[in-house]
Subunit: 214 residues, 2 copies
Amino acid sequence: MKKDRPPVERGRPRNFDRALALRRAMEVFWERGYEGTSLSDLTEAMGIERPSLYAAFGCKEALFREAVDLYNEIEGVPAQRVLETAPTARQAIETMLRDYAATYTQAGKPPGCMIVLSALLGTPQNKDVRDHLARHRRESRVALKARIAHGMVEGDVPQTADAERIGGFYATLLEGLSIQARDGASRLDLEAIIDGAMAAWEPLVACRKTLPER
Amino acid sequence: MKKDRPPVERGRPRNFDRALALRRAMEVFWERGYEGTSLSDLTEAMGIERPSLYAAFGCKEALFREAVDLYNEIEGVPAQRVLETAPTARQAIETMLRDYAATYTQAGKPPGCMIVLSALLGTPQNKDVRDHLARHRRESRVALKARIAHGMVEGDVPQTADAERIGGFYATLLEGLSIQARDGASRLDLEAIIDGAMAAWEPLVACRKTLPER
DNA sequence: AGAATTATTTACTGATTGGTATGAAAAAGG
DNA sequence: CCTTTTTCATACCAATCAGTAAATAATTCT
């Protein structure tokens, strides 16, 4: 029968919003990278205590992977989807690049791509995390090249084009855009770079694939 | 009776090979990044004990900056110099890109560019280190754009070209190459991407600068 | 209502971080 | 030779790292 509970109640117990907490975690990882984010950074941003974090997400690495998945769903999938919906390979790639340029420079969110930036280098013991992101990037490159190959089947890209080279080129540029964004480039800056990259389309697809010499 | 000596001289002669130790430190930072490298990693690689490191280099950040300078001298300056020596802007940029492609994939050395990769994201307290590298990257971009503008003066690039856009494009691609290299791309892979980027040269320089609408 | 269960918080773990104090060894100077 | 100065290595520092144990508060189920 203690009716007089202390007015200063330190922790009010309530179920926290797991999805919201994950979003907050994503933003911190996106901003600081995997190794640059401490558990204290996470709990503070997520508004929960440490044991709640571990109960809900397992460990730091598992939380990061969930955050990456969420990032991919929110920022990556929409930009990737246009690879399927656009009528030509050229439109698909240009639209994808411009979509990414927009997501890389959203106000109030960290610049650049989380999957590109958040675990590039680090200690040997976090190699799994880096490999995980590298696998994501690899899938993106494969999808890009596949879209060009698809254009060759559909006829909007010459049969003689080198899908591997063209895809590698645009994938490289796309990943470079993340660094530009981190270095302060605005959306318009990125758009100008994409203008340049798209000016390359015609000579790129016109260039015949050079057969391996053997 | 104490002899008058220069005030707290920092660079006293050491028994170990300072230049060699610095090279070793550079390689570790290059491989693992600034925050991914611990003092223990450094002392082990450098073959010296911790107090010797501090006596010779000051602190971790100062050592990193010296390592960056050394990296730039060994790997960066030679590739940059061609911007001055090549007869045309196009040759300058193509040669530079291919030189970098070679340095990014040297056997026995970490792939990619230390200045691009080794401190992109991290904790707020290391912001100075990231800014230091960002300044290096900015200078590279400026030099690239200046070389194109120089070509416009010399006549090998049309007066109507947009040096800002073209330079931004090639700088972005160059930084993307570092990530490709980290993801396992070979020198030939990078060369193929550069082939694509150079195929873009003609339409790029032919594209008139779009005046700002105001 | 009261017991059982679930959440959540405080406070802690051992390991590791960047950075030093201290004392031994070696060299230099007389 | 002995003393003074310089260089190195052991051992330590407080702070922070990721991860937990134990205890307390709130909710659920009778």
